[in-house]
């Protein structure tokens, strides 16, 4: 039996839907926390019908040389009646909490990520140079080209939360690096 996380996403969704419809008999708890989550919502969110809208044409240009704004304002349809989607749809949305993470300079060109929330996955990226390492600690190898470079970390707790921090790293003509 293939591990759950190796299964194609569509198959995961189908199994979860069956679990909800018919119970979890036969599916072991090795599924872990995934089975605690409700299945992806069937498209219950009311999508308001978008009716074609007629925008008034802009007024003819005046002889005045001053440019005048003549925006065409298209009205969207009115909002759907409240309560249609229900709070449960929103409960399943990601970004349940905006959290905090800090990049801290540790040593040399090593940077760490600090956050009080446990269990984060970290994604590091930079606009120049290269990164080695993973998890909550990386080493940045600066590029030879002087300039300002961005080092960013995203701390990811799946649907429970997300956090981001960034640093500007300036590579000088002499190869020195300044953290802003």
């Amino acid at each position: 039996m293939a591990p759950w996380n190796k299964l194609p996403k569509d198959l995961q969704k189908a199994i979860l839907t069956l679990i909800v419809l018919y119970g979890s008999t036969g599916v072991s708890c090795r599924l872990g926390p995934v089975i605690c989550d409700p299945p992806p919502p069937p498209t219950t969110a009311p999508r308001p019908t978008v009716t074609p809208m007629i925008c008034d044409p802009p007024p003819p240009p005046t002889t005045a040389p001053t440019p005048t704004v003549t925006p065409m304002i298209c009205d969207p349809p009115p909002p759907p009646p409240s309560g249609g989607a229900g709070p449960s749809s929103q409960d399943r949305l990601p970004l349940a909490e905006i959290r905090a993470v800090d990049i801290v300079w540790e040593d040399g060109l090593t940077f760490g990520a600090e956050t009080p929330w446990p269990g984060a996955r970290y994604r590091w990226s930079t606009s120049g140079g290269t990164l080695s390492g993973s998890g909550d600690r990386v080493v940045w190898q600066p590029p030879t080209e002087p300039g300002r470079y961005l080092l960013q970390v995203v701390a990811d707790w799946g649907p429970n939360g997300l956090a981001v921090d960034a640093l500007v790293l300036v590579v000088g003509e002499d190869g020195s690096v300044t953290i802003c």
């Binding site: 001053t66 704004v69 309560g83 905006i98 905090a100 300079w105 995203v154 649907p159 960034a166 020195s176």
Partner: protein, 562 residues
């Protein structure tokens, strides 16, 4: 953004007034003036967002006032103030603890229930009743009957609101005991020429407050207003903020009032710069040209939205077209317009957000400040709160009322917006830097016109346009994802959110660099470089690639910022 003088301690006080004084607002200062006129000794204490309460607790322990007034300017201040009041009581401060402001007026029951340390809430226009409370505390029968007072006795009781002040001219000028802040050596002061508003925006708390008081809109006389401005002028104040909800009276009276104000300032030789708040339908080209001649630098304009459905829901009584025209007019007059975009309200949909973003895209060439993306805060006492509650929503502490959007696609966008455009994020940082740069340049245009460099104004506007255009590009991508992507797939959403955050960061870093280039060697904005430098000093370390160079420099790891 302004340098504030420090507060000094002198004689013991009768009343301690606590407010976020850095906001340069007037409620606590007005109350202090009224109390002082009655012969009571007062002290203003600053208590800002995320500030440690211990300094205020120590001050109260030292002064042992008989009354402590917590002045609530914004809903987000409430939890901090409640914690502070609890800390005061736990520290053994025996003073009567009361709270004032528009929000407490409508949420007195919830506040008293949430905070046992809070003795009362003084509802309504507190200048009318604060002296009666401060002088009647020895006798429960006296203070419990103060108009507008809500308290536990032991059951919750609330007295009828006090009558609104018959004339704003009868108020003493605000107490500015802690001095006046300065910007580029120009003094800055907030003044108010009126109270309330004759419009009826459904989300507006001050509007609901003054209507509940029975005085929707009142004006000070021009003479009384200029008396205060002149007194401040002779103390060095040159930049004024008219903190009126509605600076311009209705109909033909607005031209008359502006003309009278201009005439009176000129007659007294008082040459000032000022900013004011207005609505889009206030913006008349001739009137605002006149205001600019009088010293108007910048307006905070209540655009709120470029989506007609949202404008109607919010009861703005203005069209999106009119909003667009107002921004274009102000741009033609070279008056900097700042405004917030209320992209999210309880009835937002993907389509209303799309309409707002389309509006902003059209406005990019006409706006000199960074767009800001917000959500409507629903306050008790407003028509919006009544509507929300009628739908069975908005349950919870009403500071402000919590709500979730019914359209999950819009709700996801709201969460992304909070993630990407947080008040402590890079976008807010560049927005603040740009605002300061504009202030400095516009003050120069007003007071040292020979040194004014129009090219710098064009560059600042170009920086704002660049940040705005690229932010809107990110919004377009978010809208596309919310419309067609799997919004419940946390892996996808989080990965994209990280990429978008990186893009916004990069845009802001580039804009910051361009701002620094403009300020470098520029006499007009000398403080920008100083501020930029101090920000860098606070957070940066310099090191070479060689670790030994780091040791030689004696640098420490960058501390975490919590």
């Amino acid at each position: 953004m302004f340098e504030s003088p420090s507060v000094t301690s002198s004689s013991p006080v009768d009343v301690l007034l606590i407010e976020d004084l850095s906001q340069q607002r007037l409620p606590a200062r007005n109350l202090a003036a009224v109390l002082q006129r009655a012969g009571l000794r007062t002290r203003l204490a600053h208590f800002g967002a995320d500030q440690d309460a211990s300094a205020v607790v120590r001050l109260a322990e030292q002064e042992q006032p008989r009354l402590v007034v917590s002045s609530i300017l914004f809903a987000h201040c409430v939890p901090g103030h409640l914690a502070l009041l609890t800390a005061l009581r736990e520290a053994g401060v025996h003073a009567h603890l009361t709270m004032v402001g528009p929000l407490p007026t409508f949420a007195f029951a919830e506040l008293l229930a949430a905070c046992p340390a809070l003795d009362s809430v003084l509802c309504g226009e507190a200048e009318a009743s604060i002296v009666q409370l401060a002088t009647g505390l020895e006798d429960a029968a006296r203070w419990q009957t103060v108009p507008g007072l809500a308290c536990r006795s032991p059951a919750l009781r609330v007295n009828s609101l006090p009558k609104p002040l018959a004339s704003l001219d009868n108020l003493p000028f605000p107490a500015r005991d802690n001095g006046l802040p300065t910007r580029l050596d120009y003094g800055f002061a907030t003044v108010e020429g009126s109270r309330g508003c004759y419009h009826a925006c459904a989300f507006c708390l001050p509007c609901a407050f003054y209507r509940a008081m029975g005085a929707p809109y009142r004006l000070r006389s021009v003479t009384n207003l200029v008396d205060e401005i002149e007194a401040l002028y002779h103390q060095g104040t040159r930049l004024f903020l008219f903190d009126d909800e509605q600076f311009l009276p209705p109909g033909h009276r607005r031209e008359e009032r502006v003309a009278a104000l201009g005439h009176e300032l000129e007659r007294r030789g008082v040459r000032i710069a000022f900013t004011l708040k207005c609505r889009a339908d206030d913006v008349d080209e001739a009137l605002f040209r006149h205001l600019k001649e009088m010293g108007l630098l910048r307006v905070y304009i209540g655009i709120e939205s470029g989506c007609q459905v949202s404008l109607d829901l919010l009861g703005k009584g203005v069209t999106a077209q009119r909003n667009a025209e107002a921004l274009a007019t102000l741009d033609r007059l070279d008056i900097v317009a700042d405004f917030r975009s209320l992209l999210f309200h309880p009835w937002s949909t993907l389509e209303t957000v799309q309409a707002d973003i389309r509006f902003l895209q059209r406005m990019v060439p006409h706006v000199s400040a960074c767009f800001t993306f917000h959500e409507v805060e629903v306050y008790p006492g407003t028509p919006l709160a009544r509507r929300l509650r009628a739908e069975g929503r908005g349950e919870g502490d009403p500071w402000p009322l919590p709500y979730t959007l019914t359209d999950p696609r819009a709700e996801l966008l709201r969460r992304l917006s909070r993630f990407l455009f947080s008040p402590s994020g890079a976008h807010a940082g560049i927005q603040n830097l740009l605002t300061q740069a504009w202030y400095d340049l516009l003050l120069q245009r007003r007071f040292r016109p020979a040194q004014f460099e129009a090219d710098k104004a064009r560059k600042l506007k170009a920086i704002a346009a660049g940040v705005n255009a690229q932010s809107l590009q990110v919004w377009q991508e978010m809208l596309a994802f919310a419309g067609e992507g799997d919004i419940y797939d946390a892996e996808q959403v989080n990965e994209r959110a990280g990429i978008w955050a990186g893009r916004i960061q990069a845009v802001c870093v580039e804009a910051e660099e361009r701002l620094l280039e403009i300020s470098r060697g520029a006499e007009c904005i000398p403080q920008l470089e100083t501020l930029y430098g101090s920000m860098k000093e606070a957070n940066h370390g310099v090191f070479g690639v060689d670790p030994k160079a780091i040791q030689r420099a004696g640098l420490q790891a960058r501390p975490g910022r919590g």
